[in-house]
Amino acid sequence: MKGSLLSIDDIKKIAKLANIPISEKQSEELIKQVGVTVAYVSKLQELPTDGVIETSQVTGLENVMREDVVDESRMFSQVEALKNATHTHNGFFVVDAVLEASE
C-alpha cells in the first residue's frame, strides 16, 4: 500500500464500518492522524516475507475444547444479566428500532 493520505470519504467509510460516530471536524483531524499511522506502518512492506506462513497463535496449542457440560455457577440470573443496561423492559434489553444489520 502506498503511504498516501486518506480522503475524507475514506475516513467516513471507515468510521461507518467501525461504528464510531464522528463529526465533520473529527473527520478532518482523523484524516491526518490515521493517514500518518497507515503511512508509517506501510514501512512493513520492506520486510521480506516470501514463503513465510502467518502466525496467528504463539502458544502452539491445538484442539483446546470443553466437554458439552452445563455450568450453572457461571450462568446469570435475569436480574444480573440486565443490571448494567440503561434501558430494559420486562426482562428484555431495549434499543431504538433497527431494521437491518449495518454491515
Binding site: 500500500m1 486518506l6 475516513i11 471507515i14 468510521a15 464500518l17 467501525a18 461504528n19 464510531i20 460516530p21 464522528i22 473529527q26 483531524e29 482523523l30 492522524q33 490515521v34 500518518v36 499511522t37 497507515v38 508509517y40 506502518v41 506501510s42 514501512k43 512493513l44 512492506q45 520492506e46 520486510l47 516475507t49 513465510v52 506462513i53 502467518e54 502466525t55 496467528s56 497463535q57 504463539v58 502458544t59 496449542l61 483446546v64 475444547m65 470443553r66 457461571r74 446469570f76 444480573e80 444479566a81 443490571k83 448494567n84 443496561a85 440503561t86 434489553f93 434499543v95
Partner: protein, 481 residues
C-alpha cells in the same frame, strides 16, 4: 510545586516474604498493613491520581480483620495483603472502567480469574488503578479520569498504559499490583517510576476477565518493588484456566525459588542495534554499567545483532489496532456502558486504523503481512535465545516525558514502544527493573527478555542484580507540608 505529606510508617517498604513472615508470627497484622496503605493513599492521591476507584476504607479494614482471624500456618504469603489492579480487570466489588467514560459506572457481575485466584489466597483488593483507556497509550494521558502524575516529578507522565499501578508501587501504597502488558504497558511505567515488573510469557496467566486490548498480545502480570516480590505473586496467579483457551498448560514453576546472588554460567545477549542513536545517552550509560554489573556477578554478556528492531513498531501497530477494533465492537451501549461517541481521539484513531487494516482489499497487505512478519520475529528471537538465557535491552528511548509531549504526534507516541513491542509479538517474557537515575533524578529502567516460560531464569538474573545494587530501594521523597 506541590508535594505530599511524608508518611510515618514503613511497613510497606518491606518485601512480600518478610511481610508474610511477620504476619505469620503476628508481629504485625493485616489491619495495620491496610491502614498504612490508606494513609499513604490519603497522603498522595489528591496530587498523584494513581487510582480511579478506591474501596471504602471501612470495608477494607473489615476484610483485613477477617484475614487476620482466618490466617493459618498454611496460608498463602499473600493472605491478608492489600493489593491494587489496573482498571482493566473486571471485579464484582468495585466498578471497572478501563479508564473510559464508555464504562464509567459498569459493575461487573463476575470476577476476572486473576482476581478469583488472589481472593482465594486471601489477598485484599483495595483499588482499581488509572491507565490509558483500553490500554491505548504509553503515558496514561489517554484516560477519561484525572491523569496520573509521576511521583518522581509531577510535571511528567508516570508512563502507560499502566501508569496508575506503577505510581502506586513507587509510592508503596501496596506490596504488589496486577498490571497488564500488550506492547510495554507494564514495563514502560515501571521504567519511568523506578520499580520492577514482569511481562509474562503469553498464556502464562489467564486472560479471562482482563478487558481485551489485543487478544494475541495481551498478558497479565505482577508489578512490585523487586524481582523476588514479582516471583511470589506470579506463583499465586500463574496456571492454566479452562475458561481461557489460550492459557498455557505449562507447569507453574517455583519462581520464588530462583533467587540467587551468583550468575556463573548465565549468558546474556546484548543487541547492538538497540543502543544506537535515538537512545538517551544517560539511559545508554546506565545499561552499559548494568552490563558490567552482570559480568561481575559471573554472567557472560556478548554483543549480538538483532537488525529487525525497526519493523517491530509497524507490525505491532497493525496487529494491535486491528485486534482492538474487533475487541471494542462489543461496547454498543445495549447491555452495559455508554455510547461509542465517548471513545477518546486516541482510541478512535486506533480503532479506525485497525478497521482499515482488516478491511477488504487491505487485509493482505496489512494484517496478513504483519502475521507473516510475526513468524520472522519468532524465528529471529528463537535463534538468539537458543544460545542465551536473556537479551538485555532498554525499555524506553527517553526517561519520563513532560505532559502533552506525546499527545499530538502519533509517530512519537508509537515510537515509545520500540523496544517493547517485539516481545509481545513473539510471546516471550521480560522482566523490567530499575538501573539508575538521571542527573535530574528521574528513574531509568532496563529489561531482561527471556525464552518462552523462562520466567524463573529472568527472576534469577533480576534478583542477583538487585542483591548487588540498590536502585530498587529508592522511593520518591515527599516533603512535609
Amino acid at each position: 510545586m506541590l508535594y505530599w505529606r511524608q508518611v510515618n510508617k514503613n511497613l510497606l517498604d518491606l518485601s512480600i516474604l518478610e511481610l508474610a513472615k511477620r504476619l505469620q508470627d503476628k508481629s504485625i497484622t493485616s489491619v495495620e498493613l491496610v491502614d498504612e496503605s490508606y494513609e499513604r493513599m490519603e497522603a498522595s492521591e489528591s496530587v498523584i491520581h494513581a487510582a480511579i476507584t478506591i474501596r471504602d476504607k471501612k470495608e477494607a479494614l473489615a476484610l483485613a480483620k477477617k484475614a487476620d482471624e482466618t490466617r493459618t500456618a498454611h496460608s498463602s504469603p499473600l493472605h491478608g495483603m492489600p493489593y491494587v489492579v489496573k482498571d482493566g480487570y473486571v471485579t464484582k466489588d468495585l466498578r471497572t472502567t478501563a479508564a473510559s467514560k464508555v464504562l464509567d459506572t459498569f459493575m461487573s457481575p463476575y470476577n476476572a480469574t486473576v482476581i478469583e485466584k488472589l481472593e482465594a489466597k486471601g489477598a485484599i483488593l483495595i483499588g482499581k488503578m488509572n491507565m490509558d483507556a483500553w490500554g491505548h497509550g504509553a503515558s496514561t494521558e489517554n484516560t477519561d479520569y484525572p491523569v496520573t502524575k509521576n511521583p518522581w516529578d509531577i510535571t511528567r507522565s508516570a508512563g502507560g498504559s499502566g501508569g496508575g499501578p506503577a505510581a502506586a508501587i513507587a509510592l508503596r501504597y501496596v506490596p504488589f499490583a496486577i498490571g497488564e502488558d500488550t506492547g510495554g504497558s507494564i514495563r514502560l511505567p515501571a521504567a519511568w517510576c523506578g520499580i520492577t515488573s514482569l511481562k509474562v510469557t503469553y498464556g502464562r496467566v489467564s486472560r479471562y476477565g482482563a478487558i481485551a486490548y489485543a487478544s494475541s498480545l495481551d498478558t497479565v502480570g505482577p508489578t512490585a518493588k523487586t524481582a523476588e516480590d514479582c516471583a511470589v505473586v506470579l506463583e499465586a496467579i500463574a496456571g492454566v484456566d479452562p475458561k481461557d483457551a489460550t492459557s498455557s498448560p505449562h507447569a507453574v514453576d517455583d519462581y520464588a525459588n530462583g533467587m540467587t546472588k551468583s550468575l556463573t554460567g548465565k549468558r546474556i545477549a546484548f543487541p547492538t542495534e538497540y543502543y544506537k542513536e535515538g537512545l538517551d545517552t544517560e539511559i545508554k550509560a546506565a545499561i552499559f554499567k548494568a552490563r558490567e554489573q552482570f559480568v561481575s556477578l559471573g554472567a557472560v554478556v556478548e554483543d549480538v545483532s538483532m537488525p529487525l528492531l525497526e519493523f517491530g513498531v509497524p507490525v505491532y501497530y497493525i496487529l494491535a489496532p486491528s485486534e482492538t477494533s474487533s475487541n471494542l465492537g462489543r461496547y454498543d451501549g445495549v447491555r452495559y456502558g455508554n455510547g461509542r461517541e465517548l471513545f477518546t481521539k486516541e482510541t478512535s484513531r486506533r480503532v479506525m486504523t485497525g478497521t482499515y487494516a482488516l478491511s477488504s482489499g487491505y487485509y493482505d497487505a496489512y494484517y496478513k503481512k504483519a502475521q507473516k512478519a510475526r513468524t520472522v520475529f519468532i524465528k529471529n528471537y528463537a535463534s538468539i535465545l537458543s544460545k542465551y538465557d536473556a537479551i538485555l535491552a532498554p525499555v524506553t528511548t527517553v526517561p519520563a516525558t513532560k505532559f502533552g509531549a506525546l499527545l499530538e504526534d502519533p509517530v512519537a507516541n508509537m515510537m515509545m514502544d520500540v523496544y517493547n513491542v517485539t516481545v509481545n509479538i513473539v510471546g516471550v517474557p521480560s522482566l523490567a527493573l530499575p538501573c539508575g537515575f538521571t542527573k535530574d533524578g528521574l528513574p531509568m529502567g532496563m529489561q531482561l527478555i527471556g525464552n518462552m516460560h523462562g520466567e524463573k531464569t529472568l527472576i534469577s538474573l533480576g534478583s542477583a542484580y538487585q542483591s548487588a545494587t540498590d536502585w530498587h530501594t529508592k522511593t520518591p521523597q515527599g516533603v512535609t507540608i
